[in-house]
Amino acid sequence: MEKKYKVRLHGSEFNLEKTKKGIKVNNYQFKPEVIFNGKFYRVFVNGRELKVEFRDNDILLDGKIIDFDFKSDPHIQTRKGSILRKSADIRAAIPGKIVDIRVNEGDEVADQQCLLVLESMKMRNEILSPMAGVIDSISVSIGDQVKSRQLMIKIKLK
């Protein structure tokens, strides 16, 4: 039985699948071997040996406190990108400021076309369209401060 998870390590999220062959993270396949010696776990993976410990409420990787967690994720599609999208909600992945909007409502857009520019921490990030389609609605204006996950643009199939 295959199971899919979201894992968070060092603050970043990864897709993880438990397969018969081992554990697949993003597109890499691993076969970690774990030994528990009563005090800590030794893991052999990818040619390295790691030490994992649990102390108080912390997880320590090679003696260093890290941020790690995971959850099962029913929302992960089996084959990524293989389904035909009917619409897309463009949400801010990070908080920031809208410094440019390059499309108007009703515009046709191509897959991977730049929709708007989101500035965060002095970096300009071009937000690209995940599909070809038509701009359904734009709910932000230039100069707006947006929060993480805030809806910015809706796109639908032509």
Binding site: Y5, K64, M121
Partner: protein, 490 residues
């Protein structure tokens, strides 16, 4: 002597300036934007004043508010730090006009150095090599004519630009036409003036810069070079000194020319002369008339306090040492710790600092403005700390930095600590064989991703083993940690 100083900046450099001023018995005044209310520089300064965000001029760029604060509080000097108003001759001039000492070079010098074509000319005059280049380009035809003389590929650069912005590369006349139009438009929008010029594109150069100090009496010294080739998105990530590319003789000969240039310009205060380096040849790039993020590298190497020197020079003190008094010792390295996700093309990742432990030990310095419980605002740059190490050799500096990274804990958002782990263990990096394309050339991010995925699989496997031992059946939602935060479980 100054008795009061306004810190017209925020973050770690504001903290740095406060420390320097306090050692000189100067009372420090911080200013802060609404989101910076709980910042460390506000806590450390003797007094602090809020800046109002009027929606027009961002607060730290608001000359009127800063001036009003100085006049109201009788503050007699101002340090601009880096970024913000540090390279604004208008700011410098305004403060001076109202009797506030500006800690930096004279406004006329800042203005001249803002013009990249004129800076080049001055460098040429003292005998510093420059890349092949042009005057200001009048139109596309003029550009194509000049490019033929220089030879493709060429860069189209903003005359009044800086920080890698408004630069376009062109390989053919056709590309050049478009590049000139685009670069000019970008320059106009970013710097207010659309003038551009051409420069020969150098493939895979190193970025090397010399630190100088100049007082008001014509004394100029250089504090050696810094190697800043490890960059991402045209911004520096790791700086070190000395450079593995520069010999003692080159240091001396380039250093001498750099001091000559500073004298010719009537330069005062601390400054940095930037070069590209390729095939055993430095080529002048530009001068940064301000303190730089990476100044601690040179402080570690020389024992100096460059920010204190800036203040002392502005106070009218003569440099207390000569070129021959400067003792370079060992090797120094700075790692810029950023709130950014290397695996998402270094996308910035502001957030809440839920855990913070700084590293310690011999020849370790950690400059920061964060603390546990601090919320990093999303409207400023992603630099959250600078790990600086000193060592007897470059090899020791690397091992010391690796060890310090093991001690450094920052939890709450993605950051580039593990990126540095990956970088420092790269064989070519360890050999000092680097260029500004290093991260791409050595596929550091690809290796990093694989390694982090491996760690994730290892930790997951441990969780699996742990729960099998502790629980009767496999639960779908384990709780690895007591304290949960960002991700939000199902």
């Amino acid at each position: 002597m100054f008795d009061t100083l306004l810190v017209a900046n925020r973050g770690e450099i504001a903290v740095r300036i406060i420390r320097a001023a306090r050692e000189l018995d100067i009372k420090t005044y911080a200013v802060y934007s609404p989101v910076d209310k709980n910042s460390l520089h506000v806590k450390l300064a003797d007094e602090s004043f809020p800046l109002i965000e009027d929606g027009v001029t961002p607060s730290y760029l608001d000359i009127d508010q800063l001036l009003a604060c100085c006049l109201r509080e009788n503050i007699t000097s101002v340090h601009p730090g880096y970024g913000f108003l540090s390279e604004s001759e208008i700011f410098a001039e305004t403060m001076i006009k109202h009797g506030v000492n500006f800690i930096g070079p004279p406004p006329k010098v800042i203005e001249l150095l803002g013009n990249k074509v004129k800076s080049r000319e001055k460098a040429v005059e003292v005998g510093l090599p420059v890349p092949l280049g042009s005057e200001i380009i009048e139109n596309e035809r003029h550009g194509i004519k000049e490019a033929r003389l220089i030879g493709y590929p060429v860069l189209v650069k903003a005359v009044f630009g800086g920080g890698g912005m408004g630069i376009q590369r062109a390989r053919t006349p056709r590309e050049l036409r478009i590049a000139i139009v685009n670069a000019s438009a970008q320059a106009k929008s970013a710097f207010g003036r659309g003038d551009v010029f051409l420069e020969k594109f150098i493939e895979q150069p190193r970025h090397i810069e010399f630190q100088i100090l100049a007082d008001n009496y014509g004394n100029v010294v250089h504090l050696g070079e810094r190697e800043c080739s490890i960059q991402r998105r045209n911004q520096k990530l790791l700086e070190e000194a000395p450079s593995t590319a520069i010999s003692k003789e080159e240091r001396k000969s380039i250093g001498t020319l750099v001091c000559k240039l500073a004298k010719k310009l009537g330069y005062k205060s601390a400054g940095t002369v930037e070069f590209l380096y390729k095939d055993n040849q430095v080529m002048f790039n530009e001068i940064n008339p301000r303190i730089q993020v990476e100044h601690p590298v040179t402080e570690m190497l020389t024992g100096k306090d460059i920010v204190k020197e800036q203040i002392k020079i502005a106070q009218g003190e003569e440099l207390s040492f000569k070129q021959s008094d400067i003792k370079f010792r060992g090797h120094a390295m700075e790692l810029r710790i950023n709130a950014e996700d290397p695996l998402q093309n270094f996308q910035p990742t502001p957030g809440y600092v839920s855990r913070f432990v700084a590293p310690g030990g011999p020849h370790i310095r950690f400059d920061t403005a964060i603390y546990e419980g601090f919320e990093i605002p999303d409207c400023y740059d992603s630099l959250i700390g600078k790990l600086i190490v000193g060592a007897e050799t470059r090899e020791e500096a690397i091992s010391r930095a690796q060890n310090a990274l093991k001690e450094l804990i920052i939890i709450g958002f993605p950051n580039n600590i593990t990126f540095f782990n990956q970088l420092l263990q790269d064989r070519k990096f360890q050999q000092g064989d680097i260029s500004i394309n290093f991260i791409e050339d050595r596929k550091i991010l690809e290796k990093l991703e694989k390694n982090i995925c491996a760690l994730a699989s290892a930790l997951f496997a441990v969780g699996l083993k742990k729960s099998q031992m502790n629980l009767p059946s496999l639960s779908e939602n384990w709780r690895m940690k007591g304290k949960m935060d960002a991700i939000g479980r199902d």
